[in-house]
């Protein structure tokens, strides 16, 4: 067994939204939607990302500039080398039933390979503002923005609640800010709908050894990052706290402000 980065070259870069770009690479790899990969900028650092595009010989990753690593990545150009390892973790389990997909921020990007495998899912794509929305042309979706600059003004959770007044779903998939996912979970519980969330934690090794990504007794990089309602019910830290790089337990607010 081997966990080492494979070096690939940036093939092209596409602007998606404010501070969001998709990086394409020539790389052929099998994975389940919801599994993640770890990118290595040699000599700098590593971070986990999801694949958002897959054609025969090509993958794309849609990345939001949020910190040191992504800042450096956004300075990289076509032809530059980067390391990749994975896939890691367990992905979504795809059900042949009526589904709803809720993506907040760049969450829709992380869900896009899943969306391609679902039959006629209802999609909710929400972000802070018009400039933060991704894939408006790629997927037909209910659009919502916090500031009302495009689509309905409000949150994905509002749109989801409203949809439930007229539609029935057997399963819901979500990815986005954890506070949002927690709310979606509460709504699903109330309506007795199965939910699968893609969780984010400080995933360092990616294969269940370093112990930094624990959420209760779940090893997020290995048992997750996708968790279903049954598991979420036992995860009291979901929507509440996460571990910092030192292992210290922190509120989500402290964790995201890291």
């Amino acid at each position: 067994m081997t966990e080492l980065p494979t070096i690939i070259k940036i093939k092209r870069i596409v602007d998606e939204a404010e501070d969001v770009k998709t990086f394409f690479f020539d790389y052929k790899i099998d994975f389940e939607p919801g599994q993640f990969f770890i990118l290595w900028i040699p000599g700098l650092d590593e971070k986990p990302f999801a694949i958002s595009h897959q054609n025969k010989e090509e993958i794309g990753m849609t990345i939001h500039k949020v910190g040191e690593f992504t800042k450096k990545l956004f300075l990289m150009k076509k032809g530059d080398k980067i390391g990749i390892r994975g896939p890691y973790g367990k992905g979504f389990s795809i059900k042949k039933s009526k589904s709803c997909v809720v993506g907040g921020g760049v969450g829709v990007a992380e869900l896009s390979i899943l969306i391609n495998k679902l039959k006629d899912p209802v999609i909710i794509n929400g972000a802070r503002s018009k400039n933060n929305l991704v894939f408006l042309d790629r997927f037909k979706a209910h659009i919502t923005t916090d500031d009302g600059s495009l689509g309905e003004k409000g949150f994905t959770t509002d749109v989801f609640s409203k949809l439930l007044e007229t539609e029935k779903f057997d399963v819901v998939y979500t990815c986005g800010p954890e506070i949002m996912m927690k709310k979606i979970f509460e709504i699903c519980e109330k309506h007795n709908i199965e939910l699968q969330v893609s969780m984010e934690r400080y995933m360092s090794c990616g294969f269940g050894v370093c112990g930094k990504c624990m959420c209760n007794d779940q090893i997020v990089c290995k048992d997750g990052p996708v968790f279903d309602s049954k598991k979420l019910r036992k995860m009291s830290e979901f929507g509440e706290s996460a571990r910092l790089r030192t292992g210290k337990k922190a509120t989500l607010k402290e964790y995201y402000g890291k």
Binding site: M1, T2, E3, L4, P5, I7, W40, P42, G43, L44, D45, E46, K47, K81, G83, S204, C205, F207, G208, V209, C210, G211, K212, M214, N216, D217, I219, R243, L244, R245, T246, G247, K248, K249
Partner: protein
Amino acid sequence: MLKTRISKIELDNPTILASGILGVTKDSLKRVIQNGAGAVTTKSISKEPRKGHKSPIILTEGDFMLNAVGISNPGVGEASKEFSALKELKAPVFGSIVGTTPEEFVEVLQGFSKNDFSAIEVPLSCPHTPGYGTMAGQGTPEATHKITSAIRDATKLPLIIKLSPNTQDLSKVAKAAEEAGADAICAVNSLGPGMKINIDVKKPVLGFGVGGLTGPALRPIAVRCVFDIYKSVDIPIIGTGGVTYGRDAIEMLMAGASAVGVGTAVYYREVNVFKKICDEMESWMKENNYTKIEQLIGAVHD
């Protein structure tokens, strides 16, 4: 059948979670115990919080793992909150402490005065963190004696000193620990450090450049270390390094260990590796007419 003991600590079976694999949170220790570990060791805890080295912190290639985690931990203040009410867990928990000076080891120990650890483990052997372990010369017989004595004076808990495989003269180091009052030896910590270079970008892969080698490739060295230490001291040994299957554990016991540390095998065989190793040990023992672990301990020396 698998019961064993380390000093006065009774274990249901000889598999012990090695320090630094999971072990950052109480819940992760619980999970490992539910998966069959006879005892568990916490991640090593220092006085102040440490972020550790930059990523990659761990890589594997075939039969070895290299890590340079850099002892990331929340510091003893947070850790003593994290590891509270340990008696709720169904197996003994060993608290691992690190320091840069004998006094600092004692400070960390005192920070844990309200935690009900069953033993304190003291690695003098981390090979990839400046200020600690072998990079700070803590593994010599003299330093080992000094640090062990200081901690011995400050606690009544069973004290396990964890050694590096890097030195030829391990018996002297083990002897120094025993003379200073250690109740047990854990052998070994990771080897090296080693280096893995990515030739396509001409750079070491690990963020710290180098890292300690563990996993199956370390096993023959760990077995030899345990074999040597068994001859030189009377205190029990936790044989650690590459134990992945039941047969490996038995080999370690025969070399002289009373229990085995299991770390990297969590990667090779998942977190229920403890249960797997125990099942494999039991069936081998039955086939070969052994009824007790004591019959195996040090058997090659007979």
